[in-house]
Subunit: 164 residues, 2 copies
DNA sequence: TATTGTTATACTCTATAACTATA
DNA sequence: TATAGTTATAGAGTATAACAATA
């Protein structure tokens, strides 16, 4: 980018978002790897399972927002299952489906990782911010995220429903 | 994360930042790939070169913030050079160094990609925001980014200076 | 015929360590 | 001895397409 359109404030906001997001993700990724041998994606998958009503979800539903091709999800599930953090079993209702559930070991990893995770975010993300800043950030970025979610994204996980 | 510490506002801000950053990067990445066959990292490398005073920089300096191991930079430089977007030549002063410069073709790719890039960001990032929002976002995220930059990151590009 | 999930395969990117050559 | 950059190699992750089983 360079000269056409866009105010200096906009450039500042755009670049800051991209870089802050990238830096924060790196740090989080490193913390999760060190303290729980998890990637961020794996952490989010486990979290989603832990938060699920009955701790179990179908593969397809599990993938949803997490930018995964179906095979990518299978790959991650293989890793998590190999480490005993999740279990897959055939769905009772639909024989084609696979139900995924977090195990006790999976919950333990989440519990083990949580304190460091919260401490990291508190220090490195919120360290330089006051309450008002946090409120403003939550407000603006929530709207941005919600908007970005609506933007039609290519392929991803969910299979193109019959493309004429 | 779950119960210990941290306010709901903080959770909202943290998750929104992570997700908004990830979604925006995906979209940008896709736009750059489609319109210029560039990854975001390559785009940033080219931009840095284009912005450099004399359009040329040493390999080591080029890598700086861009999360690259030395070999990773060489890999990207190989790709960019193969496509004629940059040129490497031995440095005049230090025979060990390599000077990298953007080519005319490289500038053309940047020019070709820029309009779509700006349009995308204007629409998808700033679409749901007013001027005040942008100002607040720039203010807060700039501080966050500057703080995150100061956090000691592991290895990266620059070689560990003699670790006793 | 459409959907769920897996597999086979290839490709991109990154990192480590060894290596060359200069300083 | 330290630095600049490359290379060889291996590993993580992702995607596409073909596939089997079920709806």
């Amino acid at each position: 980018m360079g000269q056409t359109e866009a105010t200096p404030e906009q450039f500042a906001a755009y670049f800051a978002l991209m870089e802050a997001g990238a830096l924060l993700q790196q740090m989080v990724e490193q913390q999760l790897r060190q303290e729980g041998d998890l990637s961020y994606v794996q952490f989010r998958l486990l979290t989603r399972l832990a938060d699920a009503a009955d701790s179990s979800v179908r593969m397809t539903d599990l993938a949803d927002g997490l930018v995964h091709s179906r095979s990518g999800l299978t790959y991650q599930a293989d890793l998590l299952e190999r480490n005993g953090l999740i279990v897959r079993s055939p769905s009772p209702d639909d024989e084609r489906s696979v139900t995924v559930a977090i195990t006790e070991a999976g919950r333990e990893v989440l519990a083990r990782v949580r304190p460091g995770h919260i401490a990291l975010v508190a220090k490195e993300l919120f360290g330089p911010l006051n309450e008002q800043d946090v409120a403003a950030m939550a407000d603006v970025l929530t709207r941005v995220r919600d908007h970005l979610r609506t933007v039609p994204r290519p392929p991803t996980t969910r299979r193109r429903t019959a493309k004429k």
